[in-house]
């Protein structure tokens, strides 16, 4: 677990230069980013041509432009937000808009002890780790063995394994594997109501915050009922929706009203039809946008 701080990239610490073994993010364009494990001698194929790690990446500064045979790309330092759009999906994942709200409403900060289930593809996990480092810890539970192993592997690759414990068990049956330690608990499972008592047990006796993410209102209903029965307070359900505005220049043509009798005498009417228009910078909304991800139910566990 020994590591030279600052010099090496990790998901919880910035570094300036790309090194062998780093995970870098190749930014192709707005909708297209890909993670790459930097390895001496390795190559990565992109639509703009090949990237040779030894020359194009290692020793370069994060944020540099890499020229390929058919264009160029930028190499970025990994962040949980970039990882969220780049990661290989093994499950449905949580996106940044929900993650941001969850992080604030769970009051995560350096030193927080957090329990999470299921780990899924690790999208939220990385964001939690970023917020609770360097002194916090994440206990995450994933009942799918292969997924649990895969995500643990990623944590090591991303140099955050010292901040997280992955447990391969059923949270509804076996709980989080810890008791009386958590400041916050997050649930993203099909039947969160079955895990509420385990969540309560995992939390500090002094209290803490809980969040449950569910796509369906029936799940919310059942969860809120159990939260109330278990003595949770300040139960509130919300939904956050992101709108992305596309900046563009539009041109609005002006109609031709024909010759104006008042000005007829002053200026001779132009022979060509008038194509006057007004150009302005504005924004448009996409024709379709994500209208629902899930309901976020928050609650406070009082002192017990």
């Amino acid at each position: 677990m020994e590591r030279v701080a600052v010099l090496t990239m990790s998901f919880v610490e910035y570094s300036d230069f790309i090194q062998d073994g780093d995970v870098a993010i190749i930014y192709l364009n707005h909708n297209n980013v890909m993670p790459v494990k930097v390895q001496q001698g390795a190559q990565t194929q992109t639509r703009y041509g090949v990237i040779r790690h030894s020359t194009d990446l290692i020793g370069q500064r994060y944020g540099s432009k890499v020229t390929c045979s058919k264009g160029w790309v930028h190499v970025l330092h990994p962040t949980p937000e970039l990882w969220t759009v780049a990661l290989p999906h093994r499950t449905q994942i949580l996106y940044t808009t929900d993650i941001a709200f969850i992080t604030m409403m769970l009051e995560l900060k350096p030193g927080s002890i957090v329990c999470e289930s299921g780990t899924g593809s690790g999208s939220l996990s990385h964001a939690i780790l970023r917020s609770i480092a360097p002194t916090g810890h994440l206990h995450t539970v994933e009942f799918h063995q292969q997924r649990a192993e895969k995500v643990a592997e990623e944590f090591t690759e991303h140099r955050v394994d010292h901040l997280v414990t992955v447990r391969n068990q059923d949270v509804c049956k076996d709980g989080f594997g810890v008791t009386g330690v958590a400041d916050a608990v997050f649930l993203d499972i099909p039947s969160p109501w079955d895990a509420v008592r385990h969540a309560k047990a995992a939390m500090k006796k002094q209290g803490g915050r809980l969040c449950s993410f569910s796509p369906c209102i029936e799940q919310v209903q059942k969860t809120c009922e159990v939260l109330g029965d278990q003595g949770f307070e300040d139960i509130s359900t919300t939904e956050v929706l992101l709108r992305e505005h596309e900046v563009r220049t539009v041109s609005l043509p002006l109609p031709d009203f024909g010759p104006d009798p008042d000005t007829v005498g002053e200026a001779p009417p132009s022979a060509a039809p008038n194509h006057a228009s007004i150009t302005l910078k504005t924004t448009t909304l996409p024709r379709e946008m994500p209208g629902h991800t899930g309901y976020l139910t928050f609650a406070t566990k009082p002192r017990t």
Binding site: M104, I235, V240
Partner: protein, 474 residues
């Protein structure tokens, strides 16, 4: 982190603590000071009795404004097994269903009856209460509870609570920044322990405090401030431990040009430090508000002194005393100036490396020049986020950034926040939601492309074709 001894010590309310009072959805930040009267929800309260109690405790407000910790769980006692109706076909609004008059209720209050008992009286004296449906009865009691229940909860401040409080109480002071928008900012800017973050805000210090909370005392925050001094009222409300202030630096935005040009002299007598005292009128008011010293210098002590000594026979004593005071004050002023100078030098040193890890802007100023000026201090591959209450200035920023180059992944966004009532058979979105929580422009810095003239960036983002890209390593 051993949980031995009084492991509750840090969870107890102490004198001098900054706390948040809560009733229903109403919050108010106050400091616990002995015998200090605090007004909360049209009521005078003394917080002395809260000292030593645990955070999260609900207190009853007794007559005279004193607090008494509420017995646990007593509030959960709901009037059970009540008669209920099925519909309202026979309920007529004749205005006579409540047998208690206004005077009766006032009398009950005067007797010092608890809120819960008053509600019970209202229910008992309500002629058609039994005809109401179960849901309607619930609603009635809930409404009355809000009015008569005389309790207050004391909470430890946090970014969540303070952001909700400001949004509810004083949205104008924080440029109508809604708390979910603030949440997006902290995440989009990748705020975390150990980084070096630039902040420009005129949100009473709420944004600054939220960033400091997320950094947990690790790393550094440089507040770029306009006018005579940084606004930090909101930061005080967080009640951070003393060492958090070691990571906080400030730098006047009026020196940015000089710093960039390399002409900023941080060793000499700071010319602007003197200038700030005679700033144009517009800034004077702000300065007053910004600098707590101003108040201290202001007169209460001085006046006291004068009234005390005026009837004193020895005029000379008064004079020498005055001179001594004057000198002490001059000395103090000099020390303050030197301290300010030292802090300026420290902040300048942090900025000079032009290697900051993040930039957050949220102000009532036009964000465009601020963004273009401050981006220069960022390392490549670092996030930035700009808040504005209005969309148009961010469109302008977007346009300017495209012309300038050196940034990618630009996004102009806003979020909607919807709350739900979740109750058995009565689940629906709340009737009211916030109309707007402001807009964000976020992006990532990259190395500036010097080979190309600015403006030829049109080809930056080739039309996206959905094409599967493969990572072929090894």
């Amino acid at each position: 982190m051993a949980d031995n001894g009084d492991d509750d010590y840090q969870y107890r309310i102490k004198e001098g603590d900054c706390v948040v009072l809560k009733r229903g959805e109403i919050f108010k930040a106050v400091q616990i000071l002995p015998r200090k009267k605090v007004i909360f929800e049209k009521q005078w309260v003394f917080l002395d009795n809260a000292v030593g109690q645990l955070y999260g405790t609900t207190f009853e407000i007794l007559s005279g404004g004193h607090l008494k910790p509420q017995e646990l769980k007593q509030s959960a006692a709901a009037p059970d097994a009540m008669e209920t109706g099925t519909d309202n076909r026979n309920i007529v609004d004749d205005g006579k269903s409540q047998k208690l008059t206004r005077d009766d209720i006032e009398a009950l209050k005067e007797k010092g009856l608890k809120g819960q008992d008053i509600i019970q009286q209202l229910v008992d004296n309500h002629s058609t209460f039994g005809d109401k449906t179960e849901y309607s009865q619930y609603k009635y009691i809930k409404k009355k509870k809000k009015k008569y229940e005389n309790t207050v909860m004391i909470l430890k401040p946090s970014c969540r609570i303070l952001a909700m409080m400001y949004h509810g109480r004083e949205p104008g002071k924080i440029c109508h920044l809604r708390y979910d928008t603030l949440a997006q900012m902290l995440t989009l800017a990748n705020i975390h322990a150990g980084s070096k973050v630039l902040v420009f805000e005129t949100c009473a210090g709420l944004v600054l405090g939220s960033i400091m909370e997320r950094m947990g005392g690790y790393g550094s925050v440089i507040q770029m401030y306009p006018g005579g001094g940084p606004v930090r009222a909101g930061v005080e409300s967080f009640g951070f431990p003393a060492h958090f202030h070691n990571m906080l630096h400030e730098f006047p935005i009026c020196h940015v040009n000089a710093l960039l040009a390399g002409t900023l002299d941080t060793t000499a007598k700071d010319p602007t430090a003197d200038n700030t005292d005679e700033k144009p009128l517009g800034l004077a008011a702000e300065k007053e508000q910004n600098q707590p010293e101003a108040e201290e210098q202001g007169s209460p002590e001085e006046q006291n002194m004068e009234t005390k000594t005026s009837d004193d026979a020895g005029q000379d004593v008064e004079k020498t005393e005055k001179d001594r005071l004057k000198e002490a004050k001059a000395q103090e002023k000099k020390m303050k100036l030197e301290e300010k100078q030292k802090r300026l030098a420290a902040a300048a040193a942090l900025l000079e490396g032009k290697n900051a890890d993040g930039l957050v802007i949220a102000s009532r100023f036009h964000p465009c020049p601020v963004l273009l000026g401050l981006l220069k201090f960022l390392s490549p591959s670092r996030p930035f986020v700009v808040y504005s209450q209005y969309k148009e200035p961010l469109i302008e920023c977007y346009k300017k950034l495209k012309e300038r180059g050196g940034t990618i992944n630009l996004r102009l966004t806003d979020t909607w926040l919807r709350h739900y009532q979740v109750l058995p058979d009565r689940t629906h979105p709340l009737l009211l939601m916030s109309g707007g929580g402001g807009y964000l422009l976020s992006g990532t810095t990259v190395a500036m492309d010097h080979s190309k003239p600015a403006g030829s960036k049109q080809a930056e983002e080739p039309p996206p074709k959905k094409q599967k890209l493969k990572d072929t390593e090894g």
